[in-house]
């Protein structure tokens, strides 16, 4: 019988702990497939965050380091600078990257660190039970803004891809989502391009993936998908935010 589909070798056989309808599993798969397709799995070193994807070291079939909350870009800097020919990536959520780790990601981008960051933005703190994140939308309810986020109280949500794209060291920033096959394919292409540019030594590469959190949004998986498209995409526009075609020296 012909094999039409099989699980990527880039993932281990460990069962995901993610909630039904959460996009982490899909995003893991896209990253893992990319590592295999580019022949990088055997040399790759990944850094996982604190948050829902804290156990990602059990899922990616490459060497992994678990970082302190928000510090993954600093950890990845230490790895990449001492392993300059190898593929290095961080996989981070929005609380981790856009809040407590804002300094680390901004400075990694400023220095043009040659690793890839996969930024999973679900507009909420998932692991800790649905608190407001810097990415939580205005009016969106969370356990620390139970009547909905207001500008007066918490400011406006942060757009990380746009922020990082202002830095010369950031050579590629794209925002994608995985709500349907067309978008999933675009996300895969973005992740692949990020790793290719990393391996070409161009600079810091960043892919923001909008993701659902049905559990903490209080929605069914299909409704969460709809909510993402209707509410997140208008504020967090999809597409290439920045792409620099650097001459590789």
């Amino acid at each position: 019988m012909a094999i039409v589909y099989q699980k990527t070798q880039g993932l281990t056989d460990a069962e995901f702990h993610y909630c039904p309808g959460c996009h982490h599993g899909i995003i893991h798969k896209l990253v893992a497939e990319t590592l295999v397709e580019l022949g990088l799995l055997d040399e790759a070193i990944g850094v996982c965050p604190v948050g829902c994807s804290v156990f990602a070291y059990n899922y990616f079939n490459c060497d992994m380091l678990e970082a302190a909350h928000g510090r993954a870009p600093a950890v990845a800097t230490g790895i990449k600078r001492t392993h300059p020919t190898q593929a290095v990536f961080t996989y981070q959520g929005d609380g981790d990257l856009a809040s407590i780790g804002a300094a680390e990601i901004v400075h990694a981008a400023m220095r043009g660190e040659k690793f890839t960051t996969i930024f999973v933005n679900n507009a909420i703190y998932g692991m800790t039970g649905g608190q407001m994140a810097p990415t939580t939308l205005i009016g969106q309810r969370a356990t620390t803004c139970q009547n909905g986020r207001t500008v007066e109280q918490a400011g406006s949500p942060i757009r990380m891809a746009e922020l990082l794209s202002t830095m010369d060291g950031c050579v590629y920033a794209e925002r994608v989502c995985v709500t349907d096959i067309a978008n999933l394919n675009k996300a895969k292409r973005a992740i692949k391009k990020a790793f290719q540019k990393q391996m070409a030594g161009e600079g810091f590469t960043f892919v923001e993936v909008l993701s659902t959190c049905p559990t903490n949004w209080g929605l069914t998986p299909p409704k969460a998908n709809e909510w993402l498209k209707e509410n997140m995409v208008p504020y967090y526009p999809l597409g290439v935010i920045k792409e620099t075609n650097t001459e590789v020296k």
Binding site: T12, L41, D42, E43, A44, I45, V47, V54, F55, Y57, N58, F60, N61, C62, D63, M64, L65, E66, A67, A68, R71, A74, V75, A76, T77, G78, I79, R81, T82, H83, Q86, A103, E104, V106, H107, R111
Partner: protein, 357 residues
Amino acid sequence: MAKELWKGNEAIAEAAIRAGCDCFFGYPITPQSEVPEYMSVHLPKAGGVFVQSESEIAAINMVYGAGGSGKRAMTSSSSPGISLKQEGITYLAGAEVPAVIVNCMRGGPGLGTIQPGQGDYYQATRGGGNGDYRTVVLAPSNVQEAVDFVQEAFDIADEYRNPVMVVMDGLIGQMMEPIEWKEYKRRASTEKPWAAGGKFGRDHTNIINSLYIEPEACDIHNQHLTVKFNLMAEKEVRYETVNCEDAEIIITSYGTPARIALSAMEVLAAEGIKVGLFRPITLWPFPEKALHDLAGKDHVKHILDIELSSTGQMIDDVRLAVEGQKPISYLGRAGGMMPSVEEMVDAVYKALGKEVK
């Protein structure tokens, strides 16, 4: 080998390079900034990596990444910066990542002063980070020891897969002294099959991690670490004694004040007072048994602890070691003020209940 004149901070940077330091991540803070400055020039020439980080927190996490992927990694800072590194140090200990951390100590609390201090004793020996962990803490009292200890610290870190701290008051970092580049006795080279540096054909993934979410697994991990800490406590204790054989009073002190104490002892010896110096070289493991046994001798009537600290910090370990066998007095200065020879002499007379001459 001929002696050379070196500034403390530059000497420890050079020592680290000679010990095979692969990478240094640091952030400017007085009085340690000569370490990253020297490293920025000389480490790349030796084939290593230097990065000036955006913060102390980032620096220690760069150390975690490089150390966790198998490299000899180092950072240095001074007291308030070390406070920021404590998060990273507990992760290093929890994930069993070797690293060398130098604290060129200044006075606190808060911003305090840029002058020398020893107010970070608790932070170094009790673990300023969360959870149950220990780090070997080496405390040089001159530039030669600083150079020797920094080199050995890399071996100790690798042997136990644990961070090692070298703490010295800012005076040692800032002063110049003649030193000798000795061939220090290297420990058996340590392979790092655990390092997460890429699989390269390995049949399993290596994971550097301090998360053990299941209670039983976390307990087992803690027990494993404790066995290691106990081994360090057994094997790594270091201290020096001077004139303790028939001393009626023992001064306990480390770093710069221990050197000033030697001058006070000369003055007192000339006046017929028998004073000994007990100088812990490892602040952790503290030389508890040696001090306990010494305090138990009949000729010892009193202990005088001297630190660059207003409240006294090491004195807690002195008390734990002495176990009430003899009375303990304290002399401390803070803010970069050094206890003078005269103050030490007076403190000895006072401790012994004698009239100051």
